[in-house]
Amino acid sequence: MKTEGKKNIWAEYQKEIADDHYFYARSCIRQSFFPGSEAVFIKIIREVLGLDIHDEARQTTCTGIGYHSDVIPVETTMTVIARQLSLMGETGYKNLVPSCITSFGLYSEIFNTWHHFPETLEKTREHLRKATGREFEVPENIAHPSDIIFKFRHKIRSKAKHLLVNSKTGKPLRIVEHIGCHYAKMFPHKGVGGAEYPYVLAGMIEAWGGEVVDYPERRHCCGFGFRHYIVMANRGYSIANTKKKFESMEPYEPDAIVCNCPGCPMFLDRWQYAISEMEGKVYSRDGNGIPILTYEEMAGLVLGYDPWVIGLQMHQINSEPLLNKMGICYNPDEKYKGANGENLGTPEKPSVLNCEVCM
């Protein structure tokens, strides 16, 4: 990939990312599909970087999935978000870190609306006061967790146990990155590298020894489409858009896909399975499918965390081909065991995806 010109453009989008004292707003989707990733993020912040992050028990959804599937009015969304900010103020924090890209985009949209239409901010204050008696302030800084991992990527590299390098050949692993539409397409200045050349994941991959794969549909949506996945009748939209990405990346033979958004890795993981069952098509030569990682999981593997403690057993596409390439030692017998080593059985084998490649 030629990067000289792109680097100049990236330089224009160096967003401000708070140094410490973060208020963590959890993601509905991340918690449901990749809860280990949120645990890993908090662990890295506290134990590896030695920073402070608050995890609030009284927080809720931001309503994002409901808002973008149009069942929640904007005034309701603004006030639920204002309640989150009230909790943040109450606990003494000023730096908001929403775990979800949909939330990150929605918070940014609402802050933008409050800025352009100050009467909506006043109305939201009135709504929140009347409903709950609470007050709130707009945060000083908003950063996505990936922004923070990006900010400290070199420090993480300095503590790395494994790199994104093929341990047998010494060559960089080839990684596809997927940013997630709501990270920077709506508000380019809010994302590291902007909308054209987002660098937040590419920066991690490069810092940890990997090679970023550029491909034609790199910026295409993962296919979530909110109502188009929620409603069964519409799921053709979702799988068709994801398939478009797979077909575009397949010739580049990536070793893994790393994602920024909570939902995107789920779609890129599950739709590979669904396409294999529907059409017999698998997008990797070994028949396993292309392993998917969240950026927190990628950081966790680099730092040497146990793959089954960070939650890789929740993926439908097996991660073992990637672990093997990175030279990570793991116990395959532990993969499907419970917290106390109890035997939980194993998932049924898919009819097309080749699971034997993992052994």
Binding site: R58, C221, G225, A339, G345
Partner: protein
């Protein structure tokens, strides 16, 4: 005097932010994942609303067309004039639900399923989406690992550091009752509850017209299943 549809749209901040002046270049359509899949053209949507033609706007509000957008907002980055068709769509969908016109199209009627699956879940649990609600039987694409997880949620979530259905902080925690009460009050105060009532009420009228069994709030009645699964296969290229 009753407000025109255009005047009602102009009361929505998303519409004001989304509509500047369209020159019909079609860049939004070129980048749009929905236009790639559905019989959909965001350029025409923007051109229609800026024409202020009430008859055409009413047609849009009653159509499948406004429900094709996936709200990825890719159009936001591309428009050289600063229009955001995705925001215009959000305003149109909002008005379509206020007027009850959403119930006149197959894709619009799906709002009932979304209201019951996502909207009601927010009030019940504090989450839009929660692991428990993504059931393998309605999500076969989730695959066998998801089925295995649904058989063993507690030991797996415990292993990977989640606080599944327990009090206190952490992933998948149980949201406290006092918090859910605050959220309910916010919905009552800000129009969320009113929106839900409208979706239920207009859907019930439509179900009666279509002679399909309708039960309030249920995700297991014939009308819910009808709107959740029906696809007349005329929506795509």
């Amino acid at each position: 005097m009753e407000k025109t549809f255009y005047q009602q749209l102009m009361q929505d901040v998303r519409f004001i932010e989304g509509l500047k002046a369209c020159m019909n270049c079609g860049v939004c359509t070129a980048i749009c994942p929905a236009a790639d899949f559905y019989n959909y053209d965001p350029r025409i949507i923007v051109d229609t609303v800026q024409s202020q033609d009430e008859t055409e706007i009413e047609k849009l509000l009653k159509s499948d067309t406004i429900w094709y957008c996936g709200e990825c907002m890719s159009c936001s980055t591309r428009c050289p004039r600063g229009n955001v068709p995705g925001l215009i769509i959000i305003a149109l969908r909002s008005l379509s639900q206020d007027t009850g016109y959403f119930a006149k199209s197959e894709k619009g009627r799906q709002q009932l399923a979304i209201k019951r699956a996502i909207g009601d879940n927010i009030l019940k649990t504090g989450y839009c989406v929660h692991f428990d609600m993504v059931k393998p039987e309605t999500h076969p694409e989730q695959g066998p690992v998801w089925e295995w997880l649904h058989k063993n949620p507690e030991p797996v979530f415990s292993k990977i550091g989640a606080n599944y259905k327990k009090p206190g902080a952490g992933a998948l925690r149980q949201v406290p009752e006092e918090t859910l009460l605050e959220i309910k009050k916010i919905f009552d105060e800000t129009g969320g509850t009113e929106r839900f009532k409208k979706i239920e009420s207009f859907s019930e009228s439509k179900a009666r017209e279509m002679t399909i069994d309708f039960r309030s709030g249920s995700t297991d009645c014939d009308y819910f299943n009808h709107v959740f699964t029906t696809n007349n296969n005329t929506h795509t290229h």
